[in-house]
Subunit: 135 residues, 2 copies
DNA sequence: TTAAATCCTATTTATTGGGTAGGAAAATCT
DNA sequence: AGATTTTCCTACCCAATAAATAGGATTTAA
């Protein structure tokens, strides 16, 4: 299941991508338009900023704005920051690899091979989709 | 993330599929070979039985066995029973559909469309994989 | 100087995953 | 028949995580 954090983050990003010009958009504007708890959204935008997707301006007339062109914001990057691993099991994750405590041998593990296939097909989508494609 | 329930269930199924003949296999044998908590596995096998994947025999010499040929046990069916929805959001789920409380219109929702694509590609894999393919 | 915005850390609350407990019911073996 | 060994079933617990909230510090424009 996609976490609400990721879902809200994606919605906020598309909201920003739809803006004309690069005037900062306030949290509350986004939260109202997209029906997201203001405080929760605040923390999400904060992590998106800390990870280089958003810029911000403080004080009156402050807000958030995209740092890159929507077509240069790959879904795979956003997903990894907000949701974490793309893979369904850590043992087939590229960026969050972890060995399973059960499973003595990954090479002969049936679950491993199945989930590898799922990962590849999902990755294929996220690699080839940018924020621009979401609008 | 794939739940351990699903992971263990898949491992148990492949273990059973690898058996010669259809003699019942006891829970404890599977749990030892696959490093799964005995009690937890018990509850998993129970749901697999209640959903028509496994048969069981009680008492001494009892245990579990596959009811169908491994090639007739589709991954998509197993996944839906053990893991639940294939889709990452309820609003694109075929079997577990639910409307999102935020989102006023699914047809114009960017997340919806993206996750629909992911669902389709994952579904495509699970539809075309059977237990036999896991061995 | 005031108001309005982001920034930041910590805390709370709710949900779920993972696992246990304990006994009832059934089947086998002696 | 009785002992033993298995599955069956319901209920419960615990820890981790997700979701959301609190509250003040900092910055900026008017």
């Amino acid at each position: 299941m996609l976490s609400k954090k990721t879902k809200y983050g994606l919605k906020a990003l598309t909201y920003l991508a739809r803006q004309e010009g690069d005037k900062p958009v306030q949290i509350s504007e986004i939260s109202e338009h997209e029906n997201i708890s203001r405080k929760f959204l605040e923390s999400i935008l904060l992590t998106l900023r800390k990870n280089g997707f958003l810029g911000s301006k403080k004080g009156k007339t402050g807000g958030y704005y995209l740092l890159k062109d929507p077509k240069d914001i790959k879904m795979v990057a956003v997903m990894r920051i907000l949701e974490g691993p793309i893979a369904m099991v850590p043992c087939v994750s590229l960026n969050f690899y972890e060995k399973c405590d059960d499973c003595p041998d990954e090479n002969t593990c049936s679950v491993n091979k199945l989930m590898l296939e799922v990962r590849d097909s999902t990755l294929n989508i996220f690699n080839n989709k940018s924020l621009a494609d979401l609008i």
